[in-house]
Symmetry: C2
């Protein structure tokens, strides 16, 4: 493969001049020189070596994306949008699956650092874990997606940007949709364990219930996902929780699922128990994954503006790599309700 020296020799100029062309510094250059160099590049089928450029400049033109598992449709959708946003800026995406294991997270960050990747988007992980701050201290710029920080950390000086949907609004939107459909006995169904994003969704849900005057005890139904569930853990959890719902008396008439995958499992479980959706129980999810519309009856869902969010994440990453003095910030995006058939009207 031809290198910059071959091109220079072939065009009868110096390496620096060729480099100037590569970097767009052609305004002061004689037309004729430029033409000769471009011709030489073409004739030699020259492609600049990014690795060498990177070694010299320290710039990688790659960003990392760390997700729990790409098989989860929510993260696949995120990956797509991040890929598009990155591509628009001539960046490539290096994918990391943590499979929810901390050592995988660490290893990924290590590797990104060693590969000169300066910016990483971290989805749905607890950002207070020390390896994130350590990476930040070593010059890595991090953006968190769908924040999972305990409140006390969030309030302190945080070294990362955070981009998420307004989860309070999302919870409220979902509950209000059920209430508008005439539901009186609603409940929120979720995986056990408190995270910022879960807490906010529940808060919004309870707000709406309070405002409608239908607040009661025990409005949150929760269970632990089993690792054994594997790829479909959320859905399996939903199915398992359906059993818990069915035992309540009187039966709830409306459910908000913390995410669509869980909601889909919930619907399947309820149906298996002989319950009609939405006639007996209405269900609304959060996330609006592509599947939501595919499963009869279509699952109504609260949708985050993923493309906009991905765009901001990539933009902030690049901006803060450029100028580390920029202070981290929190970005909140407004969700939209997508109406399908799982909620009575």
């Amino acid at each position: 493969m031809a290198n910059i020296r071959d091109v220079a020799r072939h065009a009868g100029v110096s390496v620096s001049t060729v480099s100037n062309v590569l970097n767009g510094r052609v305004d002061q250059m004689r037309q004729e020189t430029l033409a000769r160099i471009e011709q030489a590049m073409r004739e030699l089928n020259y492609h600049p070596n990014r690795v060498a450029q990177q070694l010299k400049t320290g710039q990688a033109k790659m960003i990392g994306l760390l997700v729990p598992s790409i098989v989860n449709p929510s993260f696949a959708a995120l990956a797509r949008e991040v890929d598009l946003a990155a591509k628009a800026r001539q960046y490539r995406v290096l994918l990391g699956n943590t499979y929810r294991q901390e050592d995988e997270e660490q290893a990924f960050l290590e590797d990104m650092l060693a590969h000169g990747v300066r910016g990483v988007i971290v989805a749905a992980s607890a950002m207070e874990k020390p390896h994130f701050s350590r990476a930040a201290a070593r010059g890595m710029v991090l953006v968190n997606y769908d924040s999972r920080m305990p409140a006390d950390v969030a309030s302190g000086a945080m070294p990362f940007d955070s981009v998420s949907m307004d989860n309070v609004a999302a919870g409220r939107l979902a509950a209000e949709h059920l209430i508008a459909g005439g539901c009186q006995r609603i409940a929120f169904v979720t995986e056990a364990g408190r995270t910022m994003s879960r807490g906010h969704k529940i808060e919004g849900f309870l707000d709406a219930a309070r405002q409608a005057g239908i607040l009661r005890e025990q409005m949150v139904i929760e269970g632990k996902a089993l690792a054994a569930y594997g790829d479909t853990e959320m859905t399996d959890l939903g199915r398992a929780l359906a059993a818990q719902v069915v035992q309540q008396s009187p039966l709830p008439d409306g459910l908000v699922a913390i995410n669509d995958a869980l909601g889909i499992g919930l619907m399947a479980g309820l149906r298996e128990a002989g319950i009609a959706i939405p006639a007996q129980i209405s269900v609304v999810g959060i996330d609006n994954i592509p599947l939501a519309g595919l499963i009869p009856p279509g699952l109504s869902s609260v949708m985050p503006p993923l493309a906009d969010m991905a765009d901001i994440m990539v933009e902030r990453l690049l901006a803060r790599i450029e100028d580390p003095a920029i202070a981290p910030q929190e970005f909140l995006f407004h969700p939209t309700l997508i109406r399908r058939q799982s909620v009575k009207t």
Copy 2:
């Protein structure tokens, strides 16, 4: 960040010696020297710069994975298995989405080449396109997943490995499952357009029908996916084709869908048309994506051994990078039937 020279200075040795440690050449080394160097690395929090190593050695420790869209669950599942196989060998995966556009494919290959990535797995793309051979000519090692080559190219000397499920067996397995359930009037439902993998599936399907003595004309029902369908194109196509199925008289009593996504759409469309599954029509898919089991009634499906396939792909990639003299080969994997509720018994 500390570099190799800092470590050498700190340990009072030369860079060569440190480099020897980095590359495991420690057998001839004095224990005490080794200990001093390791200590220096720890004290300086030294991490070797992979970019520099790569510039020198030409080895990237990354492989590329080119898929039509990561949002498609089949490719998400593939990506996961490839990621695991790569991780087992200390490699990372660079993801490329083509969104079915040829220029994206080209750009991805260019970029991989420029980044020093020597091995790329290409999923579900027509390998006879010239940019693949061009990349191969420039030293890139390619493995094709789920081969999409016209027969004439396949028979010639092919510069790539090819790894796929035995699609003839898959088509036969699916048809036999319907036949075993008592279906007499079966059909194969697919996206229009001939590729190797589609052709093979249809061939297996027809074989089984012939053997059962139920071969007839017009056993293949097909339609074109609309770009407008977007993420859910296969599913939407399935739904559209359901309309075509319903118009047949007499109605078929068993359908093989070319893939699960299409099968899921097919089931939805049939149900909307008031047809009971599997009472009136049985449906079986091919791929066994995680969704298949989630949608009531669970979609029976023919499953490729993805993990094994990913493993072979990565292994071949690394082997052929190591020794380009190794001749390309074709690998065929045997599928398994996963029984769910969408086929009567």
